[in-house]
Symmetry: C2
Subunit: 344 residues, 2 copies
């Protein structure tokens, strides 16, 4: 018999919690069932009374879900350090503690990213050899596969050792998701020559060249969407700014097309036809489709999604969590960090 | 009688030189003439023989343009330090030297940005009080006015004093171009709270808060295209990456729309209508329209444009140069740096 994979869901994370979270968990169960896969058990962490009430209102059948009552409620304004001190009975803290204690194999949350990052780091601890956990994001490209950019905001400090570890973790993660042997890894810089950039970037360049990664050299801002490399590494200040810049592009384009439409009847017709075409295109820029991102470098599977995660997004996060457990993400990172730390 | 404003044009800079450069100079003369403005004299710096040959082929009338023969030719692979040593008879070096010696009031070039930056810095020198010259770029927003982002690649080093000076120079430049009294200035960061970011960002935040600028606090990547502030300041690593990322967006969108079109006849019709709508929108994302950018912080007017500058872009660079001379950009920066250095 296959071993069970137990995934915890933060039923209180996300702007539409617990509705989307419960629905997402049920969708995930359906998905696995349709594949004839009975290995996954899902457990909802949250205020039990609320979970039951919302389920009743929406005709959700809770029979196949476990519920762990977690009465403390985190709100968006809670400081991460406060949560760690005063909200040990929150869904986030209890769910991650269950992962730590091997009662769960993974945990997914659409709650506050900062709080999830901090709580995961403290409760799960870091993988031996990892200096800083990191969060990565996929960007659509003109190729079939997206580019993974990291760090996108977990660590703003600009240090070569951090960037080097991000490269190792990003490479392993890309390998897990896209099942390719040796993803290309590049360093985000202001030009391609190895002399470019800050001292830290030049130092990182040398370290990556010496590593066992498939290092493709320096790349520029335009290479992200071109898909010039599978994994592109930068510090969290740059990565966070690009991620938020990219996410805002859609709205600006929409506004500009509306302005264009308002100028003439002929423009209005053109714009009306343009929007459905763009809708298809922008679906790829929808980060929810990717089903959240793991906090790489912590000693356990913890996945964080957008606050506005839909039920489908929650479903995708659970599927992703199962995949990462099966692949052995944590063990692979530990191994790769250990091998690559000997040379550097 | 009004004093003459003499603008030098690098006839050898740019991918289509000298054709677009000569044509752009003639367009600028027409533009000023149509406004009844006889104050501007334009001088072409380049290989005279080539300028005369290309003008003959294209029926360009050189009567109202001066030509200064500059036989040394810079190519895209020339190292900036080499140019400074061995190519003193190049259009770039001679034109900038003319500005230094008050024979010209400004110089415009569509040549290599790195070479123009280095040569401008060495030949013109820095404005007293300026640590590092900077290059800024306009981004279209959902508002009528664009956002000015700087630095976009002149200085990758992340130091609070540099960022602070960029803010001062950006504010003055925005004021010149958009004729508004007190442009808002923000610091690009990973969150809005003043505790966010690196030590350097927190230090810069305090300095900007104490300055006489219209400081609007920290802003995030999404605020650039939103137009949340007139001027947004960051280090050259971040700025360069965002600029190149934004420029690549158009091509990715085009590729994605073509993929969409190829899927069905109905998609093809929709996409065919979408493209003209997008063309209008992307015109605003065309950095050429803005007519190049000045190298801020050097002791003279030096404007750099895209290598692929069209004749219209060259015309706009000349018009912009004249505007900056009239406004007294250099003097205004010197004054503002001096006032704001007392408090910091």
């Amino acid at each position: 018999m296959r071993e069970k994979i137990r995934i915890g869901v933060d039923a209180m994370g996300g702007d539409f919690a617990p509705k989307n979270e419960i629905e997402g968990a049920l969708l995930a169960l359906d998905y696995f069932k349709a594949k004839g896969d009975n290995s996954v058990e899902i457990c909802l962490y949250g205020v039990e009374e609320k979970i039951r009430k919302v389920s009743k209102e929406n005709n959700f059948n809770l029979t196949n879900l476990k519920i762990v009552d977690s009465p403390d409620v985190i709100d968006m304004h809670d400081d991460p350090t406060e949560i760690l001190k005063t909200k040990k009975n929150s869904s986030l803290y209890k769910g991650l503690t269950a992962v730590k204690q091997k009662e769960m194999e993974g945990f997914v949350s659409g709650g506050n990213t900062g709080a999830t990052l901090a709580t995961s780091t403290v409760v799960l601890g870091r993988i031996p050899g990892v200096s800083r956990p990191t969060i990565a994001a996929f960007f659509p490209t003109i190729n079939p596969r997206p580019t993974l950019l990291l760090d996108v905001g977990a660590t703003v400090d600009h240090k070569s050792r951090f960037l080097y570890e991000f490269a190792i973790m990003g490479s392993i993660y890309y390998k897990t998701v896209y099942k390719i042997e040796n993803p290309t890894v590049a360093l985000l810089n202001v030009g391609e020559e190895d002399s470019k950039g800050t001292d830290v970037l030049r130092e990182t360049y040398s370290m990556l060249k010496e590593s066992n990664l498939n290092f493709a050299g320096n790349m520029e801002g335009r290479d992200i969407l071109k898909g010039s490399a599978d994994v592109i590494v930068c510090d969290g200040y740059v990565g966070n700014v690009i991620l938020k810049f990219a996410e805002s592009f859609k709205n600006v384009l929409k506004t500009k097309i509306k302005d264009f439409a308002s100028k003439s009847v002929s423009n209005k017709v053109k714009a009306g036809m343009a929007l459905p075409a763009l809708k298809g295109v922008f679906k790829e820029f929808d980060y929810q489709e990717y089903g959240g991102v793991p906090i790489l470098g912590v000693n356990g599977i913890s996945i964080v999604g957008h606050g506005s995660s839909s039920a489908i997004a929650v479903q995708n996060m659970i599927i992703r969590a199962k995949e990462l457990v099966e692949f052995g993400l944590v063990q692979s990172i530990e191994q790769s960090i250990s091998i690559n730390s000997k040379s550097n």
